[in-house]
């Protein structure tokens, strides 16, 4: 977790207290009084920058703030070569049959490329080639590409496509791990993205309508007639476990005592496109099918050896000091029974049942992902009303 502060400025006694209250069952007690699946309250707005194709801003209640701007350019598609379609994409294509029916794409000309989307993350005080920043950006991009829906929407014809640039800016200092914030902001920015209306036909050189009012949404709003499927951009959630309790959207203090942290990317199962003559009713949470796109495990600060620990006591070095006999034999023993009120960094792995419960809780019907997608849909609808 390189984008977070490496050193945790919380005393061992506080850590022990946090750990004890977070691992309470059945319902853990979080420092800010939230329930285990509750997100921090947030303020969101879309279409904030008229110079972009789509933009969004989200502020969490703790003050962390992010802005995402989307720009697109027309680019010539590279002529189809044998190695053009990468294996995952080919597999993905076979997997979903929902879009095939009325997607309007010729089956033999599917030369989508993951290069069509570029994502840059900017975090204050961090270089853009910092490994933590790059990892963060790739996690968001991975979900977008794995979903496959975004790249399909960027195709113009067999010779041209839209090249999309996503610029993700974190405005505040990274207080907690900013992944959920950046992912939700990206989701909203993509929902507000508009592309100029195409007036040329077939494989002609693309011509566009000058009228910006005639532009079309990249992700058409629910209930609108469209030949595209009604899927939404994916979101990435941060889930952590302490003992047997599973917490969503952890704060900085909570991450300091985490056993395991997972980034779970979720998207909706794409449905059949809405026929041109009927208008579908907006989808409700109950008939939304979620699918898992990716899981990444992230090293929490609790797994990083704090500074000032001698090698003789460090489990990472197995208690060995170069050229000396280990003085502290207890560092070599795998597990020391925990003492009440004394903080002990987690050692060893996390049981498989906990990991599967973490993913299940994110994906279950009426679970966190459902709730978040509903909330974001609310932002989208509110901005439409304002227009």
């Amino acid at each position: 977790m390189a984008t977070n502060q490496q050193q945790v400025l919380i005393s061992p006694a506080e850590l022990a207290y946090l750990h004890a209250s977070l691992s309470l069952s059945p319902e853990p007690i979080r420092p800010d009084g939230r329930s285990s699946t509750q997100f921090r309250p947030l303020v969101a707005e879309t279409d904030i920058l008229p110079g972009t194709n789509g933009s969004a801003r989200i502020c969490f209640a703790d003050g962390s703030e992010a802005i995402v701007g989307v720009k697109v350019e027309v680019e010539k598609t590279k002529p189809k070569a044998g190695a053009m379609i990468n294996p995952e994409e080919g597999k993905e294509e076979k997997g979903d049959t929902g879009v095939e029916g009325g997607g309007g794409f010729d089956d033999d000309k599917k030369n989508y490329s993951n290069d069509w989307v570029e994502l840059a993350v900017d975090i204050p005080g961090h270089r853009d080639d910092d490994p933590g920043t790059a990892f963060l950006g790739n996690m968001i991009l991975e979900a977008l590409l794995e979903d496959g829906e975004l790249v399909k929407r960027l195709r113009i014809n067999s010779r041209f496509h839209w090249k999309m640039y996503l610029d993700v800016l974190l405005i505040s200092q990274p207080l907690s791990y900013p992944l959920p914030l950046l992912s939700l902001t990206t989701h909203l920015a993509l929902l507000s993205t508009r592309l100029p209306c195409l007036i040329s036909e077939g494989d002609e050189d693309p011509m566009f309508d000058d009228d910006w009012a005639a532009s079309t949404n990249l992700y058409p709003p629910r209930g609108e007639k469209s030949k595209l499927s009604t899927s939404r951009p994916p979101i990435t959630l941060l889930v952590m476990s302490v003992g047997h309790s599973i917490l969503f959207d952890p704060t900085y203090e909570e991450l300091a005592v985490a056993d395991a942290v997972l980034a779970v990317s979720v998207s909706e199962e794409p449905t059949k496109p809405v026929p041109q003559d009927t208008i579908a009713t907006p989808k409700q949470a109950k008939d939304r099918a979620l699918r898992l796109l990716s899981i990444r495990s992230i090293d929490p600060p609790s797994r990083i050896t704090p500074p000032g620990v001698p090698n003789g006591l460090n489990p990472a070095t197995n208690g060995e000091v170069a050229g000396l006999q280990p003085k502290h034999a207890e560092a070599r023993t795998a597990e020391v029974p925990a003492t009440e009120g004394v903080w002990k960094a987690p050692r060893g792995g996390v049981s498989r049942s906990v990991l599967s419960a973490m993913v299940f809780k994110a994906l279950e019907k009426g679970g966190v992902a459902d709730e978040v997608l509903d909330g974001l849909q609310g932002v989208e609808m509110a901005s439409e009303i304002l227009e």
Binding site: G69, E75, R127, D167, D205
Partner: protein, 350 residues
């Protein structure tokens, strides 16, 4: 192969370059080669020789195709050169302002709750966010790096890739950006009472969301507002604006008027300078001019710029006072704590 290696701006030259490689066809040249043929619409049409006439047609086709391809961007202006000669007719600028008028200046402070100070500033369509963190203890690494210059402020500018018309990949090593950061840091350092904070650092991070001229001036103004919001004692506001001249260097036009607060279109065409002053005084603390300008016009430009800075100070001061009044209304601070009841608002108490 004699294909041109760099953009050529003369249509005839590019035609000749094409005629030198007769095997090459328009249909299988790549994008980068096509872009060589993008010319400003005002480029003089020369009569091509009979040998090159077909390729000249191709060039025309290429430009028209590309113009349609590239004109999709929502905020794209038509790439017409600014016709400054119209100014003398009605004494109105391209956006309808008179010579001494500022663009709309909108500012907010305390936009972000997690930081010590924050601000958002719009000067026309230039939009800048500023976040101040500190004063904090200098880290060991910072102490080592800045042992020679004991600077209190640490200015960091990031220009968003989507801020200009064409998307630009932000680069860390952009010399222009680091120079702007240095200018802001040096000028603000003089206004801040640095002696109060030994061994500390205040980090100012500026994010440019949209660019339409007067960028450096907006950075100055946003940073000043955020520093005031953070409660850093300063001797006065540091305010900045740009000023230019209505005719270019080459035109020996004696009747050139100075202009205040240039937008991007004007900046590209006319000589301009950025001036920052300390408070309502005439004390200039930064003056940046990167274009060729005749010395006789400099005095007028500077006078207009300094006057613009005074106007900006009044506007920024109003923003701060309105926010302060609102905080008293909300009960965030006690009524008795009002600082600087008179005209001068020297310091802000935390």
């Amino acid at each position: 192969m004699l294909a041109p290696a760099k953009p050529i701006n003369c249509p005839l030259a590019s035609c000749l370059a094409w005629s030198a490689c007769p095997t090459k066809k328009f249909t299988n040249c790549s994008d980068s080669e096509l872009s060589l043929f993008r010319l400003p619409p005002s480029a003089p049409v020369t009569t091509p020789s009979t040998d090159t006439i077909n390729r000249f047609d191709l060039y025309l086709r290429a430009t028209s195709v590309l113009d349609s391809v590239f004109s999709h961007s929502p905020a794209r202006n038509v790439a017409m050169p600014l016709d400054t000669s119209t100014y003398s007719m009605a004494l109105l600028r391209v956006d309808g302002r008179r010579w001494n008028e500022l663009r709309r200046l909108h500012a907010q402070i305390r936009t972000q709750s997690a930081s010590d100070g924050s601000s958002y500033l719009e000067m026309g369509h230039t939009k800048v966010l500023c976040v101040v963190t500190g004063p904090t203890e200098k880290l060991a690494s910072q102490r080592m790096a800045s042992s020679s210059s004991s600077s209190l402020l640490d200015v960091n500018i990031s220009i968003a890739g989507f801020s200009s018309v064409d998307r630009k990949r932000p680069s860390r090593t952009d010399k222009r950006v680091s120079e702007m950061a240095f200018t802001v840091q040096q000028s603000l350092n003089k206004a801040v009472h640095a002696a109060i904070f030994p061994n500390s650092t205040i980090s100012i991070s500026l994010t440019v969301l949209s660019q339409d001229g007067s960028l450096l001036a907006s950075l100055f103004n946003a940073a000043t507002l955020a520093l005031v919001d953070a409660g850093i004692p300063m001797s006065d506001y540091v305010t900045a604006c740009t000023s230019g001249s209505t005719s270019s260097y080459a035109a020996a036009d004696d009747a050139a008027d100075p202009l205040l607060d240039l937008n991007r279109q004007e900046e590209q065409e006319l000589p301009f300078l950025t001036v920052a002053t300390l408070g309502g005084s005439d004390r200039v603390c930064a003056l940046v001019c990167e274009s060729r300008v005749q010395v006789s016009r400099l005095e007028g430009m500077l006078a207009v710029g300094v006057d613009g800075c005074k106007q900006v100070r009044t506007l920024l001061d109003r923003v701060i006072r309105e926010r302060g009044a609102k905080m008293i209304e909300e009960g965030a601070i006690a009524r008795g704590d009002v600082v600087g009841a008179g005209d001068e608002m020297d310091t802000e108490e935390d």
